[in-house]
């Protein structure tokens, strides 16, 4: 600006307004250009996310006779089974997420400590189950876990147990089957975040007098938390909407929200019944994600206490 003023002299100098309009319209043009670049993405978000969710919400507000009503939501309070299903869904999600952390953290830690080649081979084994359908894997678990399945037969043959353990067609079966399917969703982000932890930070910890265990506890573990958090969120949210495994492994005794949705769409002649279930699950999931975000946000901006 000052260079322009000096070189162009007095003729155009008007209280710092030199080229101001041209610059403003240039900025506007640039903003429009950016918007144009973004528009396919925005359109996609609108068409694939906003519109269907809006429609879902809209549908949920009509009863069977097509009248605007809250009947689809009122049902949740009138029928105890909905509350029970909701509680079961969250219980399964919590337990499966916990089991995934329990098994996934050591697995991701081991992978992160292996040499690169060995780690990539092991990672293939982690990802391999993705190439098989969930249905096939669930049936495989059934074969392994049921009353006359592999595990019970072995244990009985070895004389470890007299009666078969109830591993399938119940809560335990659902948790085992789902944990297996969800594990990679926890391990992959966790592994990625562990790989970014600076080896020198761990060396520094030991150099400064922390034993390997203390270094893990005070340095490695806190630094792996962001990856763990994203893995936990992914697994938890996926669990909330899971269908196949609980339907097959639960023996009809572990009814989750998605199964209820399927049932509602066939039981009721309007979409509203299922849609309302979807809206509730979406709202609760969003609220939980918000809570996670809030907790993690607080951690990221503030330094968390050492004591």
């Amino acid at each position: 600006m000052s260079i322009g003023s000096a070189s162009l002299g007095h003729a155009v100098r008007q209280d710092g307004e030199l080229n101001a309009r041209a610059l403003r319209s240039d900025a506007r043009r640039q903003a429009l250009g950016l918007l144009a670049l973004l528009s396919p993405g925005l359109f996609l978000v609108f068409a694939v996310i906003i519109v269907p969710i809006g429609w879902l919400f809209w549908l949920s507000l009509f009863d069977e006779s097509g009248q605007l009503s809250l009947a689809n939501y009122a049902r949740f309070f009138e029928q105890a089974s909905y509350i029970k299903t909701f509680a079961t869904t969250f219980k399964v999600a919590f337990v499966v997420t916990g089991a995934c952390v329990l098994f996934g953290y050591p697995l991701a830690y081991m992978l992160s400590q292996l040499p690169r080649r060995a780690a990539s081979i092991c990672l293939i084994f982690v990802i391999l189950p993705f190439w098989t359908s969930v249905l096939v894997r669930t049936y495989a678990w059934l074969v392994i876990l049921q009353r006359k399945g592999l595990i019970n037969n072995w244990l009985i043959d070895l004389g470890v147990i007299g009666q078969p353990l109830p591993l399938a067609n119940n809560f335990a079966g659902v948790v085992i089957g789902m944990t297996h399917i969800m594990l990679p969703f926890l391990v992959l982000p966790l592994y990625a975040s562990m790989k970014t932890i600076d080896v020198d930070c761990l060396r520094a910890g030991m150099n400064l007098g922390a034993s390997p265990a203390a270094t893990f506890r005070q340095i490695f573990f806190p630094l792996s938390l962001p990856g763990l958090a994203s893995g936990v969120v992914i697994v938890f949210v996926l669990c909330l909407g899971f269908f196949v495994t609980p339907a097959l492994m639960g023996g009809g005794k572990v009814i989750m929200w998605a199964m209820r949705m399927e049932q509602a769409t066939s039981l009721y002649s309007n979409w509203g019944a299922g849609a309302a279930l979807g809206v509730v699950l979406l709202a609760v999931t969003l609220a939980l994600l918000g809570l996670f975000q809030w907790l993690l946000g607080a951690r990221a901006t503030g330094v968390w206490s050492q004591r």
């Binding site: 049902r75 029928q79 105890a80 089974s81 029970k84 299903t85 079961t88 059934l142 074969v143 049921q146 009353r147 006359k148 399945g149 399938a168 067609n169 339907a247 097959l248 023996g251 009809g252 005794k253 009814i255 199964m259 049932q263 769409t265 066939s266 039981l267 009721y268 002649s269």
Partner: protein
């Protein structure tokens, strides 16, 4: 201007199409059924002979039930000209106005149970819910009646009932508490629920699909179960140590409908008339355990005498069973299912 061009274009395209392919869209109908061995049997029993006789092409698809029909009809995207449904779904869909009226001048309804003949739907076959038990556990002294199934002291063992078909489970529950076969309908829902409540704690699995019921019995995960007779027959053919009979079975009908808005309604009507004719109905039990809906099929002489006793809709077997009333369930399904769900999830 543009509109006229379009019409011309369409007309030309239509002419070209009909000229090029003799069996044009007008000579093709699409039928949806449940898939699997049942639909294969239907293809041999109904679809292929009909296509041959009428000189048409029958394309096939599979359905998940009434939701699919509702989606197509309410969305103005009807793909199917005929689809199979459960009888209670037919009754419900009829109430919702999802089907075309049937022309009983074209379709001959004689021989079909009047309960399965309606303005816009007609029975096509029967499935039975039967009590199956493993002979390696009970020998031939297994539970024979639903009262036996409910008697956990006399018949200890693991049990499975349907969790997804509340109507069937409530019917057998009514039988279990001693209701005579001809008094089950109309079902005393609360009484049936109380009956379910008594056995609930001893049910190890509430199955949600026929395949699951079969797997539970086959793998010995349960020792007795309610199961569809087709699945039970398959188990017996495979040599699994099982026993079942039609005593106290629950007969449920399947029906066929023409979804509202079908583009080949008239042709579909003709095809449907063939499907329910005694001649083609008699083909069905040659390929599958689902019995024909038209009892005149048993008079055609096509079905071997020794086969008849294994067919659930044979007159002698029908007497031993309860026929599910589709219209009762049309009116009571939602309430009964919600109450049933509440109960088994407690």
């Amino acid at each position: 201007m543009t509109k006229r061009l379009c019409i011309h274009g369409l007309a030309v395209a239509g002419l070209l199409a009909s000229a090029a392919v003799p069996a044009s869209a007008a000579d093709t109908i699409t039928i949806a059924s449940w898939g699997g061995t049942y639909q294969e049997a239907q293809t041999k029993a109904f679809f292929d002979p009909t296509a041959k006789e009428l000189g048409i092409t029958i394309k096939q698809d599979t359905t998940n039930g009434l939701d699919d029909v509702r989606l197509q009809v309410t969305g103005n995207a009807v793909k199917w000209d005929i689809t199979e449904l459960g009888a209670d779904e037919c009754a419900r869909g009829s109430k919702e106005g999802l089907f075309e009226k049937l022309d009983y001048n074209v379709i001959d309804k004689s021989g079909i149970n009047p309960k399965l003949v309606h303005d816009d739907w007609v029975g096509i076959s029967y499935t039975s819910v039967v009590l199956i038990y493993r002979t390696d556990v009970f020998g031939d002294k297994g539970p024979k009646t639903w009262a036996d199934f409910w008697d956990v002291e006399k018949f200890p063992g693991r049990r499975a009932l349907s969790g997804s078909q509340a109507t069937e489970t409530l019917s057998v529950a009514a039988l279990a508490k001693g209701t005579p076969i001809d008094k089950v309908y109309p079902v005393d829902i609360d009484g049936a629920l109380q009956s379910v409540d008594k056995v609930k704690g001893h049910i190890d699995a509430w199955w949600t699909s026929g395949a699951q019921a079969m797997q539970l019995v086959k793998d010995g995960e349960v020792d007795m179960a309610s199961i569809w007779n087709g699945r039970a027959g398959t188990l017996r053919k495979e040599g699994a140590p099982v026993s079942f009979s039609f005593d106290q079975g629950v007969l449920t009908a399947d029906c066929m409908v023409i979804p509202k808005g079908s583009k080949n309604k008239d042709l579909a009507m003709k095809a449907l008339a063939k499907f329910v004719s005694p001649d083609l109905q008699a083909n069905l039990p040659l390929y599958v355990d689902n019995g024909p809906a038209n009892e005149k099929a048993f008079e055609t002489g096509k079905i071997p005498q020794e086969r008849i006793k294994d067919i659930n809709s044979a007159p002698d077997n029908v007497k031993k069973q309860v026929l599910q009333d589709p219209e009762f369930w049309r009116d009571n399904l939602v309430e009964a299912t919600e109450k049933f769900n509440n109960l088994i999830q407690q």
